[in-house]
């Protein structure tokens, strides 16, 4: 915890710069990608401009640089980018990750990819089935974290996909097969519980332990599927508890674009969760109605930290510092304790151009400063 009120944090992935995509493929940079690299490097100094490898990269010899180096540069770029906006907790914009489901599942045994399922229109995702006992091949995200740890100036906060989401986005064969008889709703729910808890115990927990061993202190467990089946909120909490059992770190749970009300009070059983980092700005109005849902925490007497979403990641409109301040103060009014509030975007800003996301994050920092000035004082 920082000693100032309304500390700020990142929440998810950022858009990958075009120079990264071209560079990883060993393709030459076009003029726009080259100019983009140079401009951001002049601003953030993420790599020495006179580094011979950088000269090669910008001089049409990107293939000689290698994909790994380009990935490192992208991670450094997004790390410095987030730090430059004034955030207290940062990561690397998930520069090395492509998505949040397939990669973790590929680090586990007991899964088999079956093919593509349509998400909408012509957009699809590859979906796996749990066909055997879940076991972890290797803890993952560890090297990625070590890189961030070694280069970050602010505190790193690592995001990882939670067990409930991994189970919900997979088919459950193995644990369903273990139940005799017709696979109706009740059987399906029991089998899903087995699946979630096994992913948590066998794969997520050892990964978290390995990360903590390497010095990771702040971990965000992403559960975007939590709102898909509100009646399973208890299972989301159980998975969270199993994944973090006996581990010591600052754990938060990120959920977005969900109806939160049906998740109460069952979700509150996630005992080792210190912070609820949720989306609010997306549903906000001029009357600040988007933050009314915070009343649920009061209603149920939950006094944990709130990661307050104040930026809408689906709009190019850059929220003014005053609007950010208003949103923070609305939350203060409802929660009656400014020390509980962390400030962040609703979700990852990866659908926004980097210039837009940067302006949004800068205004988030400015808005937090305005709120601090209005409330006065520090967290202590």
């Amino acid at each position: 915890m920082t000693d100032r009120l309304f500390p700020t944090q990142e929440i998810g992935s950022l858009m990958k710069p075009r120079w990264q995509l071209l560079g990883q493929r060993g393709e030459s940079l076009d003029d726009a990608a080259r100019a983009d690299f140079v401009r951001w490097n002049e601003l953030l100094h993420f790599v020495p401009a006179d580094d011979p490898a950088v000269r090669k990269f910008l001089g049409d010899r990107s293939r000689e640089v290698g994909a790994e180096t380009v990935r490192d540069w992208a991670a450094l770029f997004l790390l410095r980018y987030l730090e430059a906006t004034g955030l207290d907790r940062v990561y690397d914009g998930e520069a090395r990750r492509i998505e949040m489901y397939e990669y973790p599942v590929r680090q586990m045994r007991g899964f088999q990819f079956l093919g593509h399922v349509r998400s909408f229109d012509n957009k699809y995702y590859l979906k796996a089935a749990g066909t055997g006992e879940v076991r972890l091949d290797h803890p993952y995200h560890v090297e990625e974290f070590e890189f961030v740890r070694d280069h970050a100036k602010a505190t790193p906060k690592l995001p990882i996909t939670g067990p409930y989401t991994l189970a919900d986005w997979s088919y459950n064969e193995y644990y369903l097969r273990r139940h005799e008889g017709w696979k109706g709703r009740d059987v399906r729910r029991r089998a899903q519980r087995d699946f979630v808890v096994e992913i948590a115990r066998q794969a997520i927990r050892p990964t978290l332990a390995a990360l903590i061993e390497k010095g990771c202190r702040v971990i965000q467990i992403d559960e975007p599927a939590a709102g898909t089946h509100p009646q399973e909120a208890e299972l989301v909490a159980e998975g969270f508890n199993a994944a973090t059992d006996g581990l010591d770190a600052e754990f938060s749970m990120h959920i977005c674009f969900s109806d939160y009300r049906p998740l109460f009070p069952a979700l509150l059983e996630a005992k080792r969760c210190r912070q609820w980092a949720w989306e609010f700005a997306n549903r906000d109005t001029d009357g600040r109605d988007g933050y009314e849902v915070l009343n649920l925490f009061r209603e149920y007497g939950d006094t944990r930290q709130i990661g307050l979403g104040v930026l809408d990641p689906h709009r190019d409109e850059v929220e003014s510092p005053e609007r950010v301040k208003d949103r923070i103060l609305r939350a203060v009014k409802i929660l009656e304790d400014p020390r509980r509030i962390w400030v962040n975007p609703d979700c990852g800003l990866r659908t926004r151009r980097l210039e837009i996301a940067y302006a949004k994050l800068q205004n988030m920092d400015r808005g937090a400063k305005l709120a601090r000035a209005e409330v006065g004082g520090t967290a202590g």
Partner: protein, 323 residues
Amino acid sequence: MQAITSLTSAFPRSEALVQATRDLDRGRTTPEAVQELYLRTEAEVAGLEQRLGLEPRTGGYLRWQDLFRPFAESWEGFTVGPLTRWFETNQFYRQPILHSPPGRVAGAIANWLPLPPGGKGPRKAILPGPYTFAGLLDNRSGETPESLTHRMGRLLGDEVQELRAAGYTAFQFQEPLLVYRPPEGARAEAVVAAYRAIASAAGGSVVAVWTYFADAHNAWPLLSRLPVSLVGVDLSETDALALAPATERRGLGLGVIDPRTSLVEEPAEVVRLARSIADRHRPTSLWIGSGAPLDLLPWEPATRKLHGLPAVRQGIDAASGGP
């Protein structure tokens, strides 16, 4: 009692179609090439239906981006709205926005149906049910939900008439919302009125109401009153043995395939369950298919699951002495 097995939803796109439609979005292929692949894949689905004895045939509805899109794009009064979660799944549909009373455009929906007019054999059109359609759109038309539900029934009835002329013999209306959020009072009466309009337009054709994504128990009194040939329930959500038999004998639909798991249903187990349900309800015919839409699965596991249906059909027929 006759057992009938058929597709009860859109079929998943093949991996080749997945790749082609992705390539189309990225400008790496042409609309003509994708169209050609759609035709070939629809023929493949129709062939699969024929081989497995899935009749009436549907052709798979591979081109439909979601259940409402052909209507939202071609009927009057609509625009296509934001992505919206499709019940408790990780699929999304673009919510139709209704700005003024909807108007049917003759021939528009027929163009979206995968089976060409005039082909041989019985064929089934799968359409959105009036309650689900009216309930899931963003209604900015000023019309009350009750009136809109009834109006949708009349418009879909007109659609049925046109499709009958094109050779369709069965009409299945997707009504997940009827069980997920059952209507009450005037809204429930509007649903009955909507299906009266559809039944009247259908003449002697089969009209099926297919429910899924929730337990049909609470909606069962209403479902029992609908003037349709059969109502289908999702057996992975509903204990059909606990439902009261309809006072008037008619068909019953059983969603025996659960596309929320890739685990293939055991035909003998399905037959046992279907027989006990049939003993209780004594339906005139038993329609067997998937509960929730099959396109929650990839192509290969969906195909694998369908391969169990002939054994299910034969098992039920053997027990009932038919067909």
